[in-house]
Amino acid sequence: MLIEILAIAGGLILGVVCGLIPGLHINLILPFLILASVPFSSLTIILFVASLTIVYTFVSFIPSIFLGCPDEDTALAILPGHELLNKGKGHEAVMLALSGCLAGLFVILILIPLFIFILPSIFYYLKFIMFFVLLIASGYLILREKNKLLSLFIFLLAGFLGIASLNLDLKQSLLPLLSGLFGSSSLITSIIKKQKIPKQSLEFSLEKKELLLPSLASFLVAPLCSLLPSLGAGQAAIIGSDIIEEKSRRKFLILLGSLNTAISGLAFVALYSINKARTGSSAILQQTLDTFSFNQLIIILATIFILGIFSFFLTKRISRFYALNINKFNYQKISLTVLIFLSMVVLIFSGFLGFLVFIISTATGLLTILLNSRRTNLMGSLMLPSILLYLPI
């Protein structure tokens, strides 16, 4: 019993550490855990992986919003999150994402029967639908902007960058790509503009109806992205944003939180129902466990649900700490430190070629900011390769 409690505590601590360190996605450390898992029972491994995954999902919104440094799942949170931070509402931005994360837990619960009883039989056909879903979502992304030509240009530029990066023999190819497009470009902008962060408010209010539409979008999109390969929270958010109210930053943050949690949790259900790993965490379980039973799935989901609620309050506390203290520091120096750290992470995990991708992605991200185009167009870096992958020929 003690070892199981230690596994949960270990997952929780590591989840907080990974979540708070800019650029350090759990997928980067999970492969090392395969070797460390050998002497432990399957229950211990399950508890550790489940607690690590869910705590990370919640906490990772903090560096995205307060430091402008996202990981591959929260890349899009930087956009509305940073805007709210500049208005002194960084804590509110985190709370909106966390509320979405909580809603995501319920989305998982609702979708479990669908995943177990219906989706395995229609899984094969989803691949054909996905091409059209991605195409429509990308078309809508480009057409809703005032300068459609510029939007298309940025979308295609990022798309070609994505195609090139994903076809290189590169470890963790999404790390340099998304860190450059969304993270370092924002950090450099903050440094150039000598950005000062205003005093942050701790006020937060949320009407229940605000949760409804993002949760519905998450309910509709999360299953597709949890089941099909090469699709993650980024693509899901772009598809989902077509459903929620346009230009609503609050709802977009809720949507991102909800999608991240739902996709993380449903990946375990997909592992049980179709025996396919769609996230780093579920891949680790697939590799370390001989079989994955229904009882083990229930243990994972219970851990996710209980620790999800715990993570909500834990992340809320950390967010309060950041909100109260961030304006006491020189934000330029913070941005520069984070930029240097992020560059080192890319260099260590993706090598020299990865660093080259990081520099080119940063230039592309900066170009988008300088041309005043919406940075969601940069999601072409994931959407275009996915469209080509699901091209029905």
């Binding site: 195609i163 390969p229 520099i359 080119i360 300088l370």
Partner: protein, 96 residues
């Protein structure tokens, strides 16, 4: 002025960089054809050996022994061994 310099620098790095990466990616992609002589299946993730002495990996591709396939994919190194991670697989000759 400073903004214009930055803009031109970004355009140059972005365009030339993407062009260079596309060339690198192209060189890292390969197309091979051959008959499947062995398949190892790990829960849908298949490691396939072709009679042309090439190793191909793919996820959810459901291939069978003795099929002749045309595979397009990127070259990866796994434990110092070259293998092709399939992006596109075309079955040229099927088996019953």
């Amino acid at each position: 002025m400073q903004k214009q310099v930055l803009l031109i620098t970004c355009i140059a790095i972005s365009f030339l960089g993407i062009f260079f990466l596309l060339i690198l990616a192209g060189a890292n992609n390969l197309s091979v054809q051959g008959k499947i002589i062995s398949i190892k299946d790990y829960s849908g993730f298949q490691i396939i050996k072709l009679d042309s002495n090439k190793t191909v990996t793919c996820d959810s591709c459901n291939l069978k022994l003795n099929q002749t396939v045309q595979v397009q994919g990127k070259i990866e190194y796994y434990q110092s061994q070259v293998q092709i991670s399939a992006n596109k697989i075309e079955i040229i000759k099927n088996v019953n």
